[in-house]
């Protein structure tokens, strides 16, 4: 049907015969997103391989994740998997032209994504509070390092590869999830999403204390706000089913990456006592 649609458009514009049929049988935006995801998968592939390299190279490897951490990460995984289902339902609603339910399913996806970010943020804060940190990170920020004295502080001191690999990989993924939530918000609510994002950003910047690791990263929301505003200014249209499907591809990719991070980072570093 994609071919037929393109041919129909070509005829409608009096340009029949001037355009080749699409090579992949899909519209260009979708091919573009797939190509981006292919390149992004190499980014995550390199990070996961680097993590695995550290895992093999460093002997003994820390196993700091107890039952509580694994339970938390399992709930996070369930959130992402459920968000993929609501995303699929959103794509179906968009394809049948039901804009209200498209918005509802996209909102449900955003809620699951936000729950993932919040749970992950809480996990990070807990680990950092217990003393897990990248060497030199807090010095570079000019804030006092949390005075952890237990297991995590020992790991940071003896095996700095662990916090470096853990925070590097999970931060990259968390950034992708955050971008995904903003992307979904723009597609679902267009310009009405911008003030909501602005309020969340400003509230975060004011409420997160200076010694918290998220004090500076919260400004990624401000950057997202500017980019989203520029995109909406340049293309102030109602997003159609194609746009919903494409943002769905991105969202499923974020879910897909976590399917490797969860076992490799958490389950392979488990200590259940």
């Amino acid at each position: 049907m994609a071919d037929a649609t393109l041919q129909h458009n070509a005829v409608a514009h009096g340009a029949s015969g001037e355009f080749e049929a699409p090579l992949f049988g899909a519209y260009s935006k979708k091919v573009g997103m797939w190509l981006f995801l292919a390149s992004d998968s190499l980014t995550f592939g390199a990070l996961l391989f680097a993590f695995s390299y550290n895992r093999i190279y460093t002997n003994p490897w820390p196993t700091p994740f107890h039952a509580e951490s694994i339970a938390n990460a399992t709930v996070m995984t369930a959130c992402l998997l459920s968000s993929s289902l609501t995303m699929v339902l959103g794509v179906f609603a968009a394809q049948r032209g039901d804009r209200a339910w498209t918005r509802n399913w996209l909102l449900a996806t955003m809620i699951f994504g936000t729950a993932f970010i919040v749970l992950h943020g809480m996990e990070w804060s807990k680990l950092i509070g217990e003393g897990l940190s990248i060497p030199g990170f807090f010095t570079a920020l000019g804030v006092a390092k949390p005075a952890g004295t237990g297991e995590m502080a020992e790991i940071s001191k003896n095996v700095p590869q662990f916090p470096q690999a853990f925070f590097g990989l999970t931060a990259m993924h968390m950034l992708h999830v955050t971008i995904g939530v903003i992307y979904l918000g723009v597609v679902a609510f267009r310009k009405w999403f911008l003030p909501v994002l602005a309020v969340i950003w400003i509230a975060g910047a004011l409420m997160i204390p200076a010694d918290n690791v998220f004090h500076y990263p919260v400004h990624a929301l401000g950057l997202g706000l500017v980019i989203a505003a520029i995109i909406l200014f340049l293309k102030p249209k109602v997003y159609d089913a194609h746009d919903v499907e494409i943002c769905g591809l991105y969202w499923h990719f974020v879910d897909l990456v976590w399917m490797f991070i969860f076992p490799l980072v958490y389950l392979m570093s488990t200590k259940i006592t």
Binding site: F92, R96, I272
Partner: protein, 111 residues
């Protein structure tokens, strides 16, 4: 919308099955981690196999690649897989070659 989406619009139930299968596979992974019945290397193999099955379900069904044109399907899968295989041979022989560093001895580390 493309042909594939139109053809599969009426089979929404399969996505619930895929979602259920993904949750069950995740539960299996967690149980394996809790029980710790395998050595680390065997555990890694099993977890990676389960992860590849889960990713195939996500790519095939949720991302609809199963229903795309064969040329697109194979070009994406082969190119990305080839890159991962190259990465594998680039990283892992070196990781095995390097001697373990003398650090890592302390509380909270495996022996």
């Amino acid at each position: 919308m493309h042909d594939a989406a139109a053809v599969h619009d009426d089979s929404k139930g399969q996505y619930f099955w895929v979602w259920g299968a993904l949750l069950v596979l995740t539960a299996v992974e967690v149980v394996l981690a809790y029980k710790q019945v395998f050595q680390a290397a065997r555990m890694l193999e099993i977890l990676m196999i389960l992860s590849i099955i889960k990713s195939a379900l996500i790519i095939g069904y949720f991302m609809h690649l199963k229903f795309e044109k064969a040329l697109m399907r194979w070009m994406l899968v082969i190119s990305v897989t080839a890159c991962f295989i190259i990465m594998y041979f680039f990283f892992f022989p070196d990781a095995d070659r390097v001697q373990p560093p003398p650090n890592g001895v302390g509380v909270g580390v495996n022996s």
